[in-house]
Subunit: 335 residues, 2 copies
Amino acid sequence: MSTTNKPRRVTIDDVARSTGVSRQTVSRAINDKPEIDPATRQRILTVAQEMGYRPSRFARGMVRQSTTTLGLVIADVLNPFFPEVVAGVLEAADARGWQVVIYTTASELSREQKVAETVVDHVDACVAFLLDAAAIARVADSGMPFVLMGNEDRPVELSTVRIDFASGIRQAFDHLVSRGHRRIAMIDDRNRAESGAPDVRSGLFTAAAAEYGLPVEPHWRQLATNSVQGGAAAMERLLETAPEVTAVVSYNDMIAIGAMRHAMARGLAVPGDCAFVGFDGLTLGELVDPPLTTLSIDKRRLGQAAVEQAAAQMAGTGAMADTVVRTELMVRAST
Amino acid sequence: MSTTNKPRRVTIDDVARSTGVSRQTVSRAINDKPEIDPATRQRILTVAQEMGYRPSRFARGMVRQSTTTLGLVIADVLNPFFPEVVAGVLEAADARGWQVVIYTTASELSREQKVAETVVDHVDACVAFLLDAAAIARVADSGMPFVLMGNEDRPVELSTVRIDFASGIRQAFDHLVSRGHRRIAMIDDRNRAESGAPDVRSGLFTAAAAEYGLPVEPHWRQLATNSVQGGAAAMERLLETAPEVTAVVSYNDMIAIGAMRHAMARGLAVPGDCAFVGFDGLTLGELVDPPLTTLSIDKRRLGQAAVEQAAAQMAGTGAMADTVVRTELMVRAST
DNA sequence: TTGAAAGCGCTAACAC
DNA sequence: GTGTTAGCGCTTTCAA
């Protein structure tokens, strides 16, 4: 019976043995310590290289009180909103010498839970876009520094970075109403609406509409999957059920662009027959035709703020913080 | 003299002591092992939570021969090309249960070297967009599984995933020549051109132009920083130095879009006065006006292929591989 | 069901 | 310059 012992990893001891020195000396060579004979160092380095020796990150991490790894949970890298947040996170993390591990959930609740499960034992702190209450609780309960991003409301006892959609929607209404619009529809994000997260944007939309004395019809609200295609599909339905609307406010720019393009493809003039307002302020919005009016937010800042809060928690400084990022209305040709 | 001993971390032993059990038992509770009295487990969990106990990733990683961490090095998350690659990498990594740590270099050589330095002792394998020879060597010499992405040529002894720009450019020429274009300019990426990387795209462009018997003037080549703005700036210069060109091929879609928009802002008709061809096949290209003709590549596949090669190296399977991703010409209204 | 012993691979601190 | 002695915090035997 021949036992195929699986190829154990090459350790510092193996190198030490092969070189005829102590492992401490090997350690010195590997780590470029000064107190070592240059010749010995070179010999060790050569042998180590030949043997394919690579120090164990874990053993190292254990003995030096080292690196912080930050978990970053987003829905989807392909949605241009997130890369901007990621840029802010990477920047702020880099400034602190932190590593960033990235996870995506596609905003699917089951994925969120899996990710939450994974993240808790792979990182030291976490900043996350998460909708599912169980997933949020999982990370929060782990006791690691945790910052929840993007939700409208603020779960108790949680550090958060939020977007002020409510005030944004008022800016949109001010603008649209001044342009003479009265019948305004909303296309909301399906995943978020169905997540059970308390404050969906269309709720805030309805509330604000009431403030402005605007009519609201149930069929003026559509749900869309979070993409250009999703926006187009929602617009298609909206055109059928509510051709009377003269303006559409969307959950975000991607959806708005899809909706707007679909309307144009159907022969509507923008903004003549129907005006469109997006949300996020993606660069993309300036590039499409017509350029998209949008409620812009500082996405980079959002990422940075989250990291700063995580850092504060790590340091034990300050209690749970709550950063609210405001929107800025960028009026362009779609309204 | 009061010694302020810095807050040592809560260990499993602390919890054991506080609970009056051995640390194995705590370990059992924490890890949901079956062989433990449910009551004990609950008690331990509660105390652990109260004490703020969190298992050390390093100690854990050391004892179980666990998780693989993949380093992913890209230039910039804000360039929409990379998110698509990232999506492919995340997908393939996730399928293997790997964690992905992300690094950005902005294609700056000094950043690349710093990142290379960092990456080698923070990850188990690395897939990277890297231009600087020293940075590449640093990672390659570390001995970790390493896949270099995006370069035109293939450094010896390296696993690579490349883009076939040369054949792409021929597709572009076929198309443009058939449309009657003869005076074709190229806007290349400045960082890459200046990186000292051997095979810059404009070189391949010039060679292909010769094949097609097309004239090539030195001032028909411009360098741009990698962004819409960079493309616009380059087009501005091109319009001054070479108003005679009737078509422009760009390093990528972002640059092409910037150039195209600038031309239109200057009053040129597209494609009437000047046609534009991009490279990458970004979604963005379909959304701009006019939609951009482009040499599309499967960016997601690119990321997946890189992870697969890294996995093969980890497994010791197969030698250095070389995947070449081909382009597909998407003809749209800009030509 | 629980505990004791034995490392995992490495580096810091102190000898020699 | 180099070797020795201790752990870092955890899980995996194995014994009770």
